[in-house]
Structures are given as structure tokens and as C-alpha cells.
């Protein structure tokens, strides 16, 4: 596991700021939480108690994705005295979870929803997003019992922009950092639960490790695209097979970063730009061919000969893109492996075999 509950709990013991908020995948205005000095803890697989799938199965059908099934349990149990749960509209299942949390007594804490417009970037969508952001801010203010000033929001956005820039740089210079994927991701994924100022500090240390003179990493560079790198021994399997992650397109990590810096001055406008400008993602209904173009470009830049599409079981947004991504990437000369995980505590032998065979294949079959 990349981080255990224990790591988060001990961090929260001294760094909870003005309160803890649970945040569900994937895109929500984290900057607002930062501005109100709230510590947003994201709920991905590993945050949910063990056995959540069987427990969750009591109230959620087994054909729903494990993210939603697990989050359901945590929502009911509460976590570290969280004062609210932020549930963005990511997909039909996540929307259903929010609805259950709001109306069926399934949540131990108030639920705040956030609806990202679907159907692309257009004037009407931006206008809606603006109103939605204001409504979101108002709900959080009410729960936190504090007012948000635009100045503080502006500062928070600046902090996150700095983090995004640093993360982009770290991911781009990946081969010049003498860390294995397991350690690298242990740090990168702290963004999911640390307050932005603390994470910025960690990231700075990471940036200092970039050594452009270092001999590049050995092994076969891979591109990985998916929701979240779970189970985390995925990286061990990749490493053992003789490869490493050279391009990160995880929705939890690299895919969330805006592709360009925003020119907008006014904070709400900046937030809109940042959300609309994030890398293409099916949860926001981006066009799959724009994903192909984006991914091909990045794979070429990193000289990755192959891509692993790492989807979550039952995750429709990602699954529907698989055929187009596979075609598009293959047309561009990349080999593609599709694997599915269900947040099992460990990778199955079967999955490990597939990853090894894929790397053997990329290596030209000389294994």
C-alpha cells in the first residue's frame, strides 16, 4: 500500500487545520478547501476499511465499481471526524452514491455535491460551472462556519498552480530522479490527503532530486493510463518485469493537472480555466480521440513503446474508451495492454503474468 490509514491519521493528528473533509474522486475544486484551511482527504480504494467490498455489498450491488462500494462504507462510518464529504459528479454510480448519502441516511456527515458540466467546453457550460462553484463555496462555508474571501481563494489557487507546475516537471523529468516508482508515487500521492502547503514542501524536496546529468533509468519506459494505481504492488510488478512508468495518466495524479497556465485574473474564472483545462478524461466526457492525441504525444516524448490501460472493474467511463484508445494508440505504433483491478489487496498472479508478458513482448521477445 502506498499510504496506510495510519500514515494519514498520524499526519492529521497534528495537521488537521480547521477541519477534515472527505473528498471523493475525481475532479472538485480542492483550492476552495485549501482556502478555508480544511484538510481534504481523498477516498480512493486504500482509504476504505478492509473487507469493504463484502460489507459494501450489503447495500450496494456487486456490479458497481469498488470505488463507490468502498466509499459507501466510509461515508457511513465517518473518518477522523470529517465535517463533510465532497462528492463530485464523476459518473452515474458516483452520482448515485451522493444521492444515497443525501437522502437515504447513508452518510455520517453532510454531503456536498459538485457537478462538472458534461458535453465539452462551451460558453453555456462555463456559465453553469461558475454558478456551481459559487453554490459549492456557499455550502462549504456554511459547514465550516467561515467566510471565504476572494483574496484567500486567489492565494490558494496560486499555491495549487505552483504544485501543478512542480508535479508536471517531476513527471516530465521522471527518468532523472533516482527513485523507484513505489517511492516516487508514495510521495506524489500525498497530494490526496495533505494540505497543499505541506505537500508543496514535499514536492520541493522531490524537485531537488532531479539530476539531469544522471544516467537515465534502465528498463522499458511505459505509459500508464487509468483511475488510480491500486493495488500499489502494481509498481512492483512493473519494476520486476523490467519496466517503469514514464508517462502518468492516472486520473488521481497526472491527468488532473491543467495542461496550460491560466491567464484569467479573477479567482472563480481561474478555477473554471483550471478545471476545463485539465488533461482529457472520460469522467468529464472528453472526446476519446482527443485523449488519443494527447497520449500519443506524451508517449512519443517519453519514447514509451507501450501503454497499459489500467481500469477499475465496472468503471464505465473508462471502459467505453478502451476500444478507441486501443485503436488510436496502436495506429501510432504503441503496443497496448488492458488490465482491470478491483482494489484487491494484492495483484493476482494472473495480472502479474500479463504485465511481465507485455514487457517481454516490448523487449522483442528475447526473454
Amino acid at each position: 500500500m502506498v499510504v496506510t490509514d495510519e500514515a494519514i491519521r498520524s499526519y492529521l493528528a497534528s495537521h488537521r487545520g480547521n477541519g477534515v473533509v472527505l473528498a471523493l474522486p475525481v475532479l472538485y475544486p480542492r483550492e476552495v478547501l485549501t482556502a478555508l484551511d480544511l484538510c481534504g482527504v481523498e477516498v480512493w480504494a486504500h482509504r476504505t476499511p478492509p473487507g469493504c467490498c463484502t460489507q459494501g455489498a450489503g447495500s450496494m450491488q456487486p456490479y458497481l465499481c469498488p470505488t463507490v462500494r468502498g466509499a459507501r462504507v466510509l461515508l457511513g462510518q465517518g473518518f477522523e471526524g470529517a465535517i463533510a464529504a465532497v462528492i463530485p459528479h464523476t459518473c452515474d454510480s458516483m452520482q448515485g452514491l451522493a444521492a444515497i448519502g443525501l437522502d437515504m441516511g447513508a452518510s455520517a456527515m453532510p454531503v456536498v455535491t459538485f457537478r462538472h458540466p458534461r458535453g465539452g467546453d462551451r460558453a453555456s457550460a462555463r456559465e453553469f460551472l461558475q454558478a456551481e462553484l459559487r453554490a459549492f463555496i456557499a455550502s462549504i462555508e456554511r459547514i465550516a462556519g467561515r467566510k471565504l474571501t476572494m483574496d484567500r481563494l486567489g492565494d490558494a489557487i496560486e499555491l495549487h498552480e505552483g504544485i501543478d507546475r512542480a508535479m508536471r516537471r517531476v513527471l516530465r523529468m521522471r527518468t532523472c530522479i533516482a527513485l523507484g516508482d513505489v517511492e516516487l508515487y508514495r510521495i506524489l500521492r500525498k497530494r490526496e490527503w495533505m494540505r497543499a502547503s505541506d505537500f508543496a514542501f514535499e514536492l520541493r524536496a522531490l524537485e531537488q532530486m532531479i539530476d539531469s546529468a544522471a544516467t537515465p533509468r534502465k528498463g522499458i519506459p511505459l505509459m500508464v493510463s487509468g483511475m488510480v494505481p491500486e493495488p500499489s504492488d502494481f509498481f512492483e510488478a512493473v519494476d520486476a518485469a523490467g519496466a517503469y512508468v514514464a508517462v502518468d495518466d492516472y486520473a488521481a495524479i497526472g491527468r488532473r493537472l491543467p495542461m496550460h497556465d491560466t491567464q484569467e485574473a479573477e479567482p472563480i474564472g481561474r478555477l473554471i480555466d483550471r478545471m476545463m483545462g485539465a488533461a482529457p478524461c472520460p469522467t468529464r466526457t472528453s472526446d476519446p480521440w482527443s485523449r488519443v492525441r494527447y497520449l500519443v504525444e506524451r508517449a512519443r516524448a517519453a519514447r514509451a513503446p507501450g501503454a497499459i490501460l489500467h481500469t477499475v472493474k465496472f468503471c464505465e467511463p473508462e471502459l467505453f474508451d478502451v476500444p478507441v484508445l486501443r485503436r488510436g494508440l496502436e495506429e501510432a505504433g504503441l503496443k497496448v495492454l488492458h488490465i482491470e483491478t478491483e482494489f484487491e489487496p494484492q495483484m493476482s498472479g494472473q495480472l502479474v503474468t500479463r504485465i511481465e508478458a507485455f514487457v517481454e513482448m516490448l523487449g522483442g521477445g528475447d526473454a
Binding site: 444521492a99 444515497i100 458534461r118 476500444p323
Partner: protein, 436 residues
């Protein structure tokens, strides 16, 4: 658009369809005189007209491309706005349901799976993508679209489905996003929807080369409102005890209100159906002999098992009299306002029950059970349809606490491979025994 094509289309629409319908009727008559008598009351007379309407629709479709603009739309799209522009409208969901009823759905879904669509996705989408890839359909031919129109009020899945179609067919896709309404409908979401409807109208005008006509839009809104109200009246006849028709009948007769909404033949059809049901009610004709228990159905039907399931229930005196699905088309459409066709459409289409929170869902089920005099609820947990199925287990426990008998039935609306008939029928039987 060529003139000859246009003539062919018109001929199919006006003449050949009705004739074919009549021919089908003759064949059915011949079959009946030969065949064995069916259990239960005779089929609704309107069923013939229904077949005729749908046959005409699909037949005309064969000649539509090249003659008139063609749009493929989702069931929850504000189709009214297309009518004044003369679009021929194709409903892939309706088509997939038809494939499922004829038990061809899985075969088509397999084409999509072989092409690469994973199995853990909505089977309507797989069936339709497969049908598009293989150019196979039980209706002969589906016209190629000029535009794809999807509305997120039923699910986000349709966007993924239609994007796949867009890339296969190389045609533009326009999405109307109806943000989910967790609590009370909110103004900024409905404003967003209204703006998108405006954008969609502009797009349709561009594609069809016909100018926007607000008067015509108003008339269509009126027509749609009327048809929906008639549909609501039809459904209400099932409140009678014993009910003159069942939820299973409703699943079949829902076709026109989904696909022909806003057209006069749709309104005329439901007037006819309403009159027939009123006559049945007057004569006290029951669809289930010895009706003992009445049930609500939640979620889409198990299309490929419609007949078997209704017979299984009817044998024990159980009748499904109302469903959240068929009620959906009567629930919000009365909000149509011919003087504000766009603003009212924004409300009608945003407030569809499946686009609303669980509080609304619970209240809806409670009131359907009460008004239709039901003592039990069947919740079809539909592996294909996540938006409709999430929360059903909570819903079931709530309704049980309210004193209703509930059963969550595992199934799929199209994919018979993920349906265990033995298990389902066993559970249904046990459920019915629990009423004793």
C-alpha cells in the same frame, strides 16, 4: 436531398407502412385461427395499430437518409425541437429493446465485444454499437444519421455510447447536459439546459436548412403535452381493481410516447388506447384472472423475458400494475408550455425522475404503490443500468419499513448471459409465496 429519395420516404411513411401493418394483421388472424388459444383476455385491439405505427416508422426509416435529415437521439432528448425541421428520428434504445424482445440483442452485443467494448458496460450500448458495426438489424435497415443527439438526463453512459457511434459513423454529436438534481430543482441548472436547447435548435436549423419557427415549436410542445397526458390517463386505468391492463402491456405500448412524441399520430394513438382501456374498465375486463396482489415494478424490464415473467406472475394471481419506467413519460411532460416551449422543455427534461435524487425516487415509489393500490414492489437490479440500479437496496429497505413487500431481482434488460432464469424464477416464486 434527392427528390426520388424523398418520394420513396413519403411513400413508405404514408402508404406502404399501413399496408404492411394490415398484412401483418392478416397473418396474425390466420395464425390465430390455426393456433391454440392464448390464456388471459384477448390482446388489446390497439396493439395492431401500435404495430402498424412502429412498422411504418421503421419502414420509412429505410428510405430516410438522403430524403430528410436524420437524427439518432436518446430516449430523454427533447425531441420536440426536431419536429419542425422535418427530421426522421431514430431511437437506438428503442431499437435495442426490440432486438432484446426478439432475442437478438446478445448476438449484436457480441459484435461490439469482439470489436473491443468490454462486457461490464450497458448492454443497450453494446447491442447498438454491434448493430452499427455489423449493419445488422431485425428491422431491415436503419438510416445513417446526420447528427447524434444525446441528453444526460437518463445517464452519462449515453454520452460514451454516442461518442463511440460518432467516431464509427463520423458524424457530429451534440450533448445536452441536464445536471443531476439532488434536491429541489435548481435554477442555474435549468438555465444551462435551456441554453443548450437553444444551441441544439440552431444546430438543427443548420443541418436541415430550415429556419427556426417558434410558433411551430409551440405547437409541437402542445402536441407532446397532450400525448403525455393521454399516456398518463392510460396508466391510470390500471388503478382499477382488477386492472384492465398490466405493466407488461405498458412496456409494449410505451413505444410511441418515446419515439413519436410531438407528432399527431402519437396523440391519436393514445386517444385510441385510452378509449379502449376505458371500455375494458367499463366491462370489468381484467388482464389477470383472479387478480390477488398488485405490484410496482422499478427499473427497465427484462425485455427478453417479458412474456415468461408475466405468465409466471399471472398464474398466481399477481399483477404488475405500474412501473417507474412507464410512468416516467407521464410524470413531467404535463409541464410543457406551448407559450414557453424552450423553458418548459428545460424543466420537463431536467426533472425526469431518473435525473433526480433518492428522496424523490422514494416518494415516487411510495405514491405509485399507494395510488395504484399495490402491496409489493419488484425492484429489478439491472446489471446493465447503473444509474437506475444504484440505491435500489436502500430503497428496498425503506419500502419494507413502510410495510410493502419488496424483492430485489437480479437481471439485465438485454444481456441474457448475465441473467439466471432458474434463480430469478425461484426467487419470484418464493416472493409470491410469502404473500400467503
Amino acid at each position: 436531398m434527392s427528390l426520388i429519395r424523398r418520394l420513396q420516404y413519403e411513400a413508405a411513411d404514408r402508404l406502404a407502412g399501413p399496408m404492411l401493418g394490415r398484412y401483418g394483421r392478416l397473418r396474425a388472424l390466420a395464425r390465430r385461427s390455426r393456433g391454440k388459444r392464448r390464456a388471459g383476455p384477448p390482446q388489446l385491439q390497439s396493439t395492431r395499430k401500435l404495430k402498424e405505427l412502429l412498422t411504418t416508422h421503421y419502414l420509412a426509416g429505410r428510405y430516410a437518409d438522403g430524403a430528410v435529415p436524420v437524427a439518432w437521439v436518446t430516449s430523454g432528448f427533447p425531441v420536440e425541437i426536431l419536429r419542425p425541421f422535418g427530421f426522421h428520428v431514430v431511437y437506438p434504445e428503442n431499437h435495442a429493446a426490440l432486438c432484446a424482445v426478439q432475442r437478438q440483442g446478445v448476438q449484436l452485443a457480441q459484435v461490439a465485444e469482439q470489436w473491443g467494448v468490454p462486457r461490464d458496460t450497458c448492454a443497450y450500448a453494446r447491442c447498438d454499437i454491434g448493430s452499427t458495426l455489423a449493419q445488422m438489424t431485425p428491422v431491415g435497415r436503419i438510416p445513417r444519421p446526420d447528427v447524434l443527439l444525446a441528453c444526460t438526463n437518463i445517464c452519462q453512459t449515453v454520452v460514451y455510447w454516442y461518442r463511440t457511434l460518432a467516431s464509427l459513423l463520423n458524424v457530429p454529436l451534440f450533448v445536452i447536459d441536464t445536471p443531476y438534481q439532488y434536491g429541489e430543482p435548481d435554477a442555474h441548472a435549468e438555465r444551462f439546459v435551456a441554453r443548450q436547447i437553444e444551441e441544439a435548435i440552431a444546430l438543427c436549423a443548420r443541418i436541415s436548412g430550415v429556419e427556426r419557427d417558434d410558433g411551430a415549436l409551440g405547437l409541437v410542445a402542445r402536441e407532446a403535452k397532450q400525448a403525455s397526458e393521454l399516456w398518463g390517463e392510460c396508466l391510470a386505468y390500471a388503478k382499477r381493481k382488477p386492472a384492465p391492463w398490466s405493466g407488461f402491456d405498458q412496456f409494449i405500448h410505451i413505444g410511441p410516447i418515446v419515439t413519436l412524441r410531438g407528432l399527431p399520430e402519437c396523440t391519436a394513438y393514445y386517444r385510441m388506447l385510452r378509449d379502449e382501456l376505458s371500455e375494458r374498465a367499463r366491462l370489468g375486463i381484467a388482464v389477470v384472472e383472479n387478480e390477488k396482489h398488485r405490484l410496482v415494478w422499478d427499473n427497465l424490464p427484462v425485455w427478453f423475458e417479458l412474456r415468461e415473467m408475466s405468465q409466471l406472475l399471472a398464474r398466481e394471481g399477481f399483477n404488475i400494475v405500474v412501473t417507474t419506467y412507464t410512468n416516467g413519460w407521464a410524470e413531467t411532460a404535463p409541464m410543457f408550455d406551448e407559450h414557453d416551449p424552450i423553458g418548459s422543455a428545460a424543466r420537463v427534461y431536467s426533472r425526469v425522475f431518473i435525473n433526480r435524487g433518492m428522496g424523490h425516487r422514494t416518494a415516487l415509489l411510495r405514491s405509485l404503490a399507494k395510488e395504484w393500490g399495490c402491496d409489493g414492489v419488484l425492484l429489478h437490479s439491472n446489471r446493465s443500468c447503473k444509474p437506475y440500479s444504484v440505491g435500489q437496496l436502500d430503497l428496498a429497505s425503506q419500502l419494507t419499513r413502510d410495510g410493502l413487500r419488496t424483492l430485489v431481482l437480479d437481471g439485465d434488460h438485454l444481456d441474457s448471459r448475465s441473467y439466471s432464469k432458474e434463480q430469478a424464477e425461484g426467487r419470484l416464486s418464493a416472493f409470491m409465496e410469502s404473500f400467503a
